[in-house]
């Protein structure tokens, strides 16, 4: 009985996957093995390689970081073992059998999920859920022979980022609650009053209301400003991972149960179209 940690070397979550693996292993009284593959990534190639390794070493539990790469191939691996990846896990308990905690409905609820059967169980952990340890002692596997159907080209960046949100000390960020493109001005006025950068959650950029380079979240920028004001942002996990490290978080939202209030220091539950203009006045007054 062992725990296998699959490490994406060089990824910022490498140490988090290892930390989770070590924590689960110690709760299970099991040894840990950490492995990686030293080859260009393809879903077919990685699945075949790790399948062979799991069949050989027979771990009880396989732990990964919930990265974009993991999402691309780990479900395929789990399927080959007749099970599924318990993805985006934030905690675990061991009560004879492992119970993993993950979020449902974009963070509105948590669920305790039990892995049935004898394993191997496959789990990916959410960014920020397990404080990282040093990602050393990782064994390198060579790529297994397999038919590889994906032909990856060289990764690229769309264009140099004109807006570096990571350097901004103050950020006002706008979400779906703003309802219409013309209403962005409401949030912009607050950003101006505070001297803050304007940012947004993904749906706003998807709609083209603000450029993609102003997006905060797992597919955008990860920020940790002194002050982050979330205007009409419900707080889906994809957004939270990009901003929960902010020093002070203010949430303005109509829904008192919005997940954004779980990470907020201060909150106003109400209609943002009344609250934000009032806030603009109050900020102006306070700054004299």
């Amino acid at each position: 009985m062992s725990v296998l940690v699959i490490v994406e070397v060089g990824h910022r979550m490498a140490g988090e996957a290892l930390a989770a693996g070590q924590q689960f292993a110690s709760a299970m009284g099991a040894p840990v093995q950490a492995v990686t593959v030293d080859a260009e990534y393809t879903a077919d190639g990685f699945t075949a390689t790790y399948e062979a390794h799991v069949r050989k070493t027979k771990p009880k539990l396989v732990v990964l970081a919930h990265t974009y790469q993991t999402r691309d191939w780990a479900p395929k691996l789990a399927t080959r073992f007749g099970t599924m990846l318990i993805s985006d896990v934030i905690a675990a308990r061991f009560e004879g059998w492992p119970v993993f905690v993950r979020q449902l409905f974009q963070g509105k609820f948590n669920a305790d999920v039990r892995a049935a059967g004898d394993g191997p169980h496959f789990v990916s952990v959410q960014a920020g859920a397990f404080p990282p340890v040093a990602a050393d002692a990782v064994e390198t596997l060579s790529l297994a022979a397999a038919e590889i159907r994906q032909r990856p080209e060289k990764p690229f960046r769309e264009s140099a980022r004109a807006v570096d949100l990571t350097a901004a000390p103050l950020i006002v960020s706008v979400g779906r609650g703003i309802k219409e493109q013309s209403n962005i001005a409401v949030a912009e006025a607050l950003a101006q009053a505070l001297g803050a950068e304007l940012a947004a959650s993904r749906p706003i950029c998807d709609a083209g209301w603000l450029p993609m380079e102003r997006q905060v979240g797992s597919s955008g920028q990860t920020v940790a400003p002194k002050l982050y004001v979330a205007v009409g942002i419900s707080g889906a996990i994809q957004h939270l991972v990009g901003m929960k490290g902010s020093k002070t978080i203010v949430a303005i939202n109509q829904d008192p149960n919005a997940p954004i209030f779980e990470v907020a220091d201060y909150g106003i539950v109400g209609d943002l179209f009344e609250v934000v203009p009032a806030l603009v006045d109050a900020v102006r007054k306070a700054k004299g």
Binding site: T67, R71, M84, F109, R176, G270
Partner: protein, 252 residues
């Protein structure tokens, strides 16, 4: 070409959700439903690909009887026909869903299967990948652009931190689509009218094997911080907040 789009029906965004008496799922009474948002982008992409390459768009959906309405809406937007794998109420795990979808679509000989990258309810984010594995097709995920040239696929995959990558693969294949890669269309009146006559093939779901994962309990998350919430009228709340930002958080 034959394009299949796997869609899921989920509760309307911003629904007020309550935990069911069973404690293992939400109370589904009196809820309204809509298409899972990433699946709406997958549907739009399939419609655009059909406009470009010709062929047919088939909607594939596993869900209870009520999912029929969401399927009808997809037909109204322009899909040609649908397969509805009718399940009982409540959530199925991803593997069970993917198995149902795979069984239902096998005989279709699809060229390209599209689905959203994740669902807004369970959020496991793997149905498309598992479906590809069950069908023995290549796949790629989190796709921002789809090109079909000479019977092969070249897609733009989103990586993290603003990086992208093009990936080529043969057809048939499965892709999971990222939100925002296209602009969603609305159903026209004509489309709604036409949808009434389009075929929906209903397949009753067979009881599946033992679930690999079981939800033991769902509950409201514990707050990691206790937010100070300001109430009252907007002006008072705003003044209280600014006071705190200035003197407690010292960020103004």
């Amino acid at each position: 070409m034959k394009f299949v789009v796997a869609i899921k029906q989920v509760p309307l965004r911003d629904s007020s959700l309550r935990i069911a008496a069973s404690g293992v799922w939400i109370d589904e009474a009196n809820l309204q439903y809509e298409i899972n948002e990433p699946d709406a982008y997958a549907l739009e992409e399939a419609l655009q690909l059909r406009e470009k390459h010709g062929g047919e768009v088939v909607v594939l959906c596993a869900g209870p009887e009520r999912a029929g309405q969401t399927i009808r809406e997809a037909l109204a937007k322009g899909a040609d026909r649908a397969i509805h794998v009718e399940t009982s109420e409540g959530a199925l795990d991803t593997l069970a869903t993917a198995r149902l979808l795979a069984d239902a679509v096998k005989s279709e000989a699809a060229d390209l299967i599209l689905t959203g990258l994740q669902s807004d309810d369970l959020g496991y984010g793997q149905t498309g990948v598992v479906l590809a594995e069950l069908l023995g097709m290549p796949h790629s995920t989190i796709i921002m652009q789809v090109e079909i040239q000479d019977g092969a696929l070249r897609v733009k995959r989103e990586l993290e931190d603003g990086w992208f990558q093009h990936i080529g693969m043969p057809l048939p294949a499965v892709l999971t689509i990222q939100s925002g890669l296209n602009k969603l269309r609305y159903a026209t009146l004509m489309g709604i009218k036409k949808a009434k006559r389009k075929e929906i093939r209903v397949v009753k779901a067979e009881a599946g094997a033992t679930a690999p994962v079981v939800i033991e309990k769902i509950y409201a998350p514990l707050k990691s911080k206790q937010a100070q919430i300001f109430t009252g009228d907007a002006k008072t709340a705003a003044a209280q907040l600014v006071e705190k930002l200035k003197f407690e958080a010292r960020v103004l």
